[in-house]
Symmetry: C2
Subunit: 138 residues, 2 copies
């Protein structure tokens, strides 16, 4: 099976109804080749540049949003300045290191949240996000 490596990402994109362009495949490789990870647009753009792929920041933004819409990524809002994207789309939560711009996952299965009120009339719960904000111990 020659070309299998590369084909994985192209196939993944095709399943998501996204044309597997050079840029999208390159970003998909950076995002999905290894373990789950968290990225910002800026950082992913820098990484792409480092790994020899030339693409514009606009394309990174476009792709991150398209991947998110397709369910391949999920947005994590924790710091008001930048948007973080998470390759782990399953149920889970986050540790966030204030200032450090660093996120790590808390497996969802371990966490139970009890006593939440019902969703207000006319609405339904889309998702429950838990962010554990950390500071370094003085």
């Amino acid at each position: 099976m020659p070309g299998a490596q590369k084909g994985d990402f192209a196939a993944k994109l095709r399943v998501a109804q996204l044309r597997p362009t050079k840029q999208r495949v390159a970003l998909a490789r950076l995002l999905f080749a290894g373990a789950d990870r968290h990225v910002t647009a800026e950082r992913l753009h820098a990484e792409a540049a480092n790994s020899g792929v030339r693409l514009s920041l606009a394309t990174v933004y476009n792709s991150l949003h398209q991947f998110t819409a397709a369910g391949l990524l999920r947005q994590v809002i924790v710091d008001g300045e930048k948007t973080h994207f998470d390759t782990n789309t399953g149920e889970h939560h986050h540790f966030y290191f204030e200032g450090g711009d660093l996120l790590t996952d808390i497996p969802g299965g371990d966490v139970r949240i009890e006593g939440l009120p019902r969703a207000p009339a006319g609405t339904e719960i889309e998702r429950v996000d838990v962010v554990v904000r950390l500071k370094s111990r003085g």
Copy 2:
């Protein structure tokens, strides 16, 4: 006790080591006169203008941050675009209506979170935020 109304806010500011200027007192009145509330800088600025107080947006930002540092307000990060400030500084969580830019409180006492892992070595938990994201029921 004449001037008691106004004095409340000036006193509150003095306790917080903030000089009770006309602008800060006006903002404090808007924020703390009634029930707990959530505001953005832009909205508070508009409200101040409506209530006849002329102050700059920069002052609103300054004041919101100073109030927050003094423990009178708390920041709520839920939507990546704007920062929300909450007059309820006690333990509690939030419902967030996607798109609607609207926040409501979930009393903290009712909610229990179990199964969180320990804070990573060298860090401690500063706060645990729960955001229940709502969408309108289709």
